[in-house]
Symmetry: D2
Subunit: 348 residues, 4 copies
């Protein structure tokens, strides 16, 4: 089998590093080029120290970009949209990991990102990259916009309930707890270790941009309200979304089980996690470090007429590079789990 | 000034250790006895290693209990209620740190704790120990039930809003994130370091007992719904309560500021924390480690008609021993901050 | 190719979990049975939560042990030696992960473990399982004693220097820093999260048992003194050995490079890590979490006539289950890296 | 009693923050000014968030410096020496927290710091600020150079042994493990949380500058060799020095106890920590967070003819601002423990 010839544009960040980690061991992929404007000429293993000795690849400048089979784009938000024509001329398929083509409505970019999208004409051509929702469209897609990490967890937590009409009029209150790698690899006073360590910090109690993706994706099944807050915790990787939902009518636990089993029973990367005993009774992000899994669980609060749904994932994998590779596998007809078999560690 | 002669019953746990740390440096207190059934005869510094060289005290068995001025009771829930007559005969004043006398309605003990309270006649005699709500009653009280940690944070976050009629019909969704010291000092599989480290774990998505205290205290101002969930994070100390509230009508930020300033402007231990810039824009528990402070902040979400309120504290201090000493100070006419001046550390 | 039929005896601990994680994805292995006396009948994924949904295996009692191709033994020290005859009758090959057959000299068991070895006759039949030292012997072995984690790191740090005659008369001072998973999965007061978190704790300043293995293995090349201390740090996985060596004569850095390159240049799991710049200039354990790698680096201290050598690894993988599988690969003629390709994560 | 009027020069860093925390609660000190060139005009509580609501002080520019009773200087190394004449004209007493006046021999600055000291004439006038060694000189001093954190721990670990002639010809191998606050508050790639978290990192295996202070201070009692290495661990505060010493002749444990008791028995801030059982058998830095204590312990290794000595402290307190205040107390005749009574937290 010929390997798919891949270029990673903007490969020196955390997402680029994860793409490299996964693709270097992927049976159907060959990374032919990886660009970085900060580190041209530098061996990949110097920038991504886990890959020392694993590859001879060096970073190139974007000036050297050449035609290939597929581009993974890991550029800062705004940059991809600005340079999209160049990228389209290089490869028949693109997976973009920025937010630039996730939203369908240009007005949403003005509202949530405060920027006038330069290429609204292309928004409709990108498929939103959550395979659990858009598997068939991704298989046929040439352009995929990989989903945001918080959005992926929130969508996977709520989508089945919403589709079943169980998210009541009051919508969902979603509190996402996240690790520090979500912010990328640029140092700042807030990410300085003595400040960021031991943190339990509301960093975005309202107005988080990923909310736009959630509303768009759940909204396809009818109007929905999502009240979103994000809190930083002392982890590097990992994200737990806790969604509080108030169905219009009381719901039996059995019914909820059925809904989630129907939605995810055949999914290769979503597990239902809910036990009566033991330490890990609900989804726990650390068990998913390095994996492409999303664990989903729930608990009913009959007294309060509430359903609490949790979804955990690794923000850099299922919330980033891993889900992008999952889309790539679908686009190219590989087994969906190719390159994504790592089961995670315990204890960790 | 004569020092108040104090006995701590059940002093080998984390709360007992904090009481000792605070009271050994309190200008008006003299700890004359501290009991422990596990470590009778053992020097206090062997069990609470921070106190090595700070005191000559040794633990005694409860059999040696003798009359004194005030008892701090740090016994497992259920134990205090069972032995209360003995304690009442020993001292004119008691501060109980268990949950046994926090609730007024015996039915609440059956509902939330599953136990038939043996002394419902006494429930009305204990004052609920949150000075910000019951300062005058505590001054006059001979019996105080120190509040739970999650309850204290939630109450301090919501009380001013609720009193102002701003917690709408939908009530509040409260998500509390807590460190491991909340669970006490008994090892278990779930608290084993390799399991508890890096955790981000829904440990009580619904049905948490502290909810009963919150409902009781807020309910005094009219009916209220509180939807409570607790998540364990990788901290030893510290608790952040995030409350999502949906006022019936839009609220201006100014108005919220005014409400909280009015409620807490003169409080010695509650700070309003809300900045537009910097790393610490909202309440952050780690800054409060070892202090009796509770930091409260908020953010409006105009798009969602939501108000997000955060309250942070150290679960063992303002959520435990510190607040108990604050009550003690009021009961004995000491300055309210006596022994509680530690300002917290940064960085940490 | 027929898969090797494997039984894991004592599979509910951390080492057993790692063996399962690795072997379930190993192309040449089939785990036909895994025993646990604590959890007979329980699905493996309930005890090792990372493996939920990855296997249908359930734990069995040791009473059900049946013949197979190879046994991995993960029993408490002492237990293997006591039951060895039974195990020998079950499989032609055994890899023992306890300390029971690591030492050649029965007197060493009395000295370091304080126990009279019940089967000194068998000590000579086990090959010490560090492939970098005993590759050919392991290939031919039917019995392998997988090495201890601290010992593996110390041996890999010092062996090339010692073989080159550069560990002077004064020997080496070795300080090992280790995470909490080294202690296994049994909760205790010292491993309770509030106590073990943030620790920086001399737990074995002198007299550590792994020293015996180090002396035996290095001693094969002539007498050596090793002064060993172990300090616990706030990690779950990971171990860094820092060895301070005082060569009899000044050594050039180039010479040291040459020695290590010659020793490890072709090794699949040992990397030399030493850079002039960057964050990861020397070996760093976290980059090796989940991998079978051991990173080795060094720095000369010309002023002090000292050579500082560092070796990092994951105590549960290269210091445990991974190295055991590496030995298994050699014993069965598989590629040495089979099942052990995971490159590690960054950031983490 | 009139309070001593204090100015802190360079008060926006971590050491400045600690000085403020301590001095704002010191019965004999009044901080009249604190300078910062980065934050002139800014309230102290905005930069040191633990001090919000604790002081009305604002930062001033150094241009506004005015005469006062004592200056604490917290400037970057090199800066103090350059501006020393100006400072000398402002106050009769100075405590300098930089390295600029710690060493007596100008040649040491060239050797260890690579800089030609601009004012070698003043080196002899500063007293090295470790009260346990120079109490009487500090009492009489007008100029004190507060000691480095690693140096303080190493000196307190080794000084009694060295004075007793028990550090043999081979000297001491000292491995110091440190938290991230030691590096100050400037963000960098290496201190970015995703990189610095979980670290176990040789950052200075040889050539650490604090070694110069150690050699100077121990050298006063005769020649000594100290082989020093520093490893970064995942803590914010805290430092553990482990010193391996090889006495020329076998030493009894009793004798070592006697030596340390004699040296530190009356010291207000040094505790001897050595127990046969329990979790905290040796010095543990986390118990000292926020305190001015230094815990010292030891263990004999009779097999190896070695003595292992450990010293723990909080690098920002006993290794920084706290020790500076201890010197200040001595210089002004306050009780040595004034402002430094905080006993530390447990659990933490």
């Amino acid at each position: 089998m010929d390997r798919v010839r891949i270029t990673i544009v903007g490969g020196s960040g955390y997402t680029g590093g994860e793409l490299l980690r996964i693709l270097l061991h992927h049976p159907g992929a060959e990374v032919v080029k990886v660009t970085s404007e900060r580190f041209p000429g530098r061996p990949v293993g110097q920038v991504h120290p886990n890959l020392r000795g694993r590859t001879e690849l060096r970073f190139s400048s974007a000036e050297t970009l050449a035609p290939c089979d597929l581009l993974f784009l890991c550029l800062p938000h705004g940059e991809t949209a600005r340079r999209i024509d160049g990228f389209l001329s290089l490869a028949p398929r693109i997976v973009d990991l920025s937010a630039d083509f996730r939203l369908k409505d240009p007005a949403d970019y003005e509202k949530w990102y405060g920027f006038a999208h330069p290429r609204p004409d292309l928004l409709g051509r990108f498929v939103y990259g959550v395979p659990e929702l858009h598997r068939e469209a991704i298989r046929r897609a040439s352009l995929v916009a990989a989903a945001g990490c918080n959005a992926t967890a929130t969508i996977l937590a709520l989508h089945p309930l919403h589709a079943a009409g169980l998210v009541g009029e009051r919508g969902a209150v979603v509190e996402v707890k996240v690790g520090s790698s979500e912010g990328g690899n640029a140092p700042s006073p807030a990410t300085h270790h003595p400040e960021r360590a031991h943190c339990l910090r509301s960093y975005k109690p309202a107005g988080h941009r990923h909310q736009a993706e959630v509303l768009q994706e759940l909204g396809a099944k009818g109007p929905v309200r999502v009240h979103f807050s994000a809190t930083a915790v002392d982890l590097v990787r990992g994200l737990l979304a806790t969604a509080h939902v108030f169905p219009n009518e009381p719901v039996e636990e059995k019914q909820v089980w059925r809904i989630y089993r129907q939605a995810y029973g055949d999914e290769p990367f979503v597990r239902l996690v809910k036990s009566r005993e033991g330490t890990y009774r609900y989804p726990e992000p650390k068990l998913l470090w390095g994996t492409n899994g999303c664990d989903v669980g729930f608990e009913a609060d009959p007294q309060g007429g509430r359903l609490v749904v949790m979804a955990a994932l690794d923000n850099l994998v299922k919330g980033g590079a891993g889900q992008a590779v999952q889309c790539f596998n679908l686009m190219h007809g590989f087994p969906e789990t190719a390159g994504l078999e790592f089961p995670g560690l315990h204890p960790v």
